[in-house]
């Protein structure tokens, strides 16, 4: 069971990252739980400044951009 967290205050790119991550995760067929974090104050707990950011099992995998589909599969896999 993987925990996938999307950090973003709710902008268009954050939503895109969420969809892209969901797609990549289901393509890989991994069991996961998706959480969206929109509270700016909690970003700092992850050390994230540039949004949107992708956090997998507590580890920041990408921030400030939406990674490509292949990259996402690597980050999640």
């Amino acid at each position: 069971m993987k925990t996938i967290q999307i950090l973003g205050p709710g902008c268009a790119r954050c939503n895109r990252l969420e969809q892209a991550a969901e797609k990549a995760a289901s393509e890989l067929g991994i069991e996961h739980r998706m959480e969206k974090i929109t509270d700016v104050m909690r970003f700092a707990d992850f050390g994230v400044m540039l949004t949107p950011a992708l956090v997998v099992d507590g580890e920041v995998k990408a921030s400030g951009r939406v990674p490509s589909h292949e990259e996402l599969k690597q980050m999640l896999g």
């Binding site: 954050c14 700016v40 400044m49 540039l50």
Partner: protein
């Protein structure tokens, strides 16, 4: 039947009916305001969208995709020397704050993990005013002078406000975040000079395509006479760079160049048509790619999608309420010249306060300000509103409050209003 949702529908219907029933069609001022709204929107569509906004979106997208944000963030980290952090904080909005939704997370990050309250405040204040899109559109619509004053004023006052905030709260123990900054890997894939040349070419295209006729003979008039040749040459350079450094397919690029040339010739030398075809062509070249140029397209498109509808709505509302320059909308001109005309301290304060409380969606402050200026607003209060407006709004105050607490938020709001009033007054007195 689900009565709850039906009630909602009924209320909506009733509201719409009441609105139409009492619609003041035929009242001259209302009809005139509708005309003004449409006229202003048409004017924007014709004058600003293709030549100014489309290139500006591509430039903003390129900043997001090609400029390494990580290298800038280092200077805002906890170990950065303070003077450097203030300097970088005040100007880095140009490349870090292209989208309004990135400003607040960055502010919280710099405050809690990085260089502290001062540089974070400097960034928060200047970011919305000096991002690439805001500078370009302010200079185009409201004039170079006000555009420059806005950018320089924002940078200068952001440092002053940052220093004052740091000094006011110098005794506050800052809650240190345990985590270090998680910076994305440095994405620099080419030497700095290449990125520089690439951006200079794009900015050159933007500047020459928007070169306006000069009243007198001289260099400006000469450039105006050959502006489309200059734009075209830079366009060819741009195409060459895309093929050489960014790995776009040369065959496709040649097709786009041919299409642009055909558009220019077929419309009898209409530059707008050529630029439009060029922008569409660039989208065709970059969309759907899996490399950095694909990301460039994604960024550009998300700005376009986010900002165009807001701007369209903003222009319609501004036209309806305020009219084009020289015409009246719904609000009588006398009201405006009474409250924000001239350059009194009161007018500047009123403009700064109004700007601080009002919420301006990205870039909509520009058409609204244009309408106000056309109705007799002084240039000083205009700058005051430009400086206080995008930096603050009621919603952003709430978020800032959750990050730094009510005391610091109040001090920040007060400083912004006072600074904006003062700088507007100074600008109005000097120019």
């Amino acid at each position: 039947m689900n009565y709850k949702s039906e009630y909602k529908a009924a209320a909506l219907l009733l509201g719409a009916f009441a609105l139409v029933y009492f619609l003041p069609v035929g009242v001259p001022r209302f009809d005139q305001s509708i005309t003004e709204a449409l006229e202003l929107t048409k004017w924007y569509a014709r004058e600003h969208v293709v030549l100014c906004l489309l290139p500006a979106f591509w430039i903003a997208g390129a900043i997001g995709a090609f400029v390494s944000q990580t290298s800038v963030m280092r200077y805002l980290g906890p170990q950065a020397p303070k003077p450097l952090a203030y300097g970088v904080g005040s100007v880095s909005g140009t490349i870090l704050a292209v989208c309004s939704c990135t400003v607040l997370p960055l502010f919280a990050g710099i405050y809690r993990m990085g260089a502290g309250l001062g540089p974070a405040t400097a960034f928060l204040y200047s970011g919305p005013a000096i991002n690439a899109l805001a500078i370009i559109l302010t200079a185009k619509v409201l004039g170079i002078q006000l555009g420059l004053a806005r950018a320089l004023g924002a940078i200068l006052f952001s440092v002053v406000i940052g220093l004052l905030m740091a000094w006011l709260f110098r005794n506050d123990e800052r809650e240190k975040a345990v985590r270090a900054m998680a910076l994305p890997p440095d994405g620099t894939r080419r030497p700095l000079w290449q990125t520089g040349v690439f951006f200079a070419t794009m900015v050159g295209i933007l500047v020459f395509a928007n070169w306006s006729a000069a009243p007198t003979e001289g260099l400006f008039a000469t450039v105006f006479a050959i502006k489309w040749w200059l734009t075209g040459c830079l366009g060819l350079v741009f195409a060459a760079l895309l093929a050489r450094w960014y790995g776009l397919a040369p065959g496709r690029i040649l097709l786009v160049i041919a299409a642009v040339a055909i558009a220019a010739v077929a419309t009898g030398g209409n530059g707008t048509a050529a630029v439009f075809v060029g922008a569409i062509g660039l989208a065709w070249l970059t969309a759907g790619r899996d490399d950095e140029s694909g990301e460039w397209f994604d960024q550009t498109w998300s700005y376009t999608r986010q900002i165009m509808p807001l701007l369209l709505g903003g222009v319609l509302v501004a036209g309806f309420l305020l009219g084009r320059p020289g015409y009246e909308g719904l609000i009588p001109s006398e009201w405006i010249s009474q409250s924000v005309g001239g350059n009194s301290l009161g007018a500047n304060l009123f403009a700064a306060l109004a700007g601080a409380l009002m919420y301006f969606a990205t870039l909509t402050e520009i058409p609204i300000l244009q309408g106000l200026l056309g109705n007799g607003m002084g240039s000083g209060p205009a700058l005051a509103l430009l400086l206080a407006g995008p930096a603050l709004s009621l919603p952003s105050m709430l978020v800032i409050n959750s990050v730094i607490g009510p005391k610091k938020t109040a001090a920040y709001v007060l400083l912004v209003v006072v600074m904006a009033t003062f700088s507007g007054w100074l600008y109005g007195a000097l120019f």
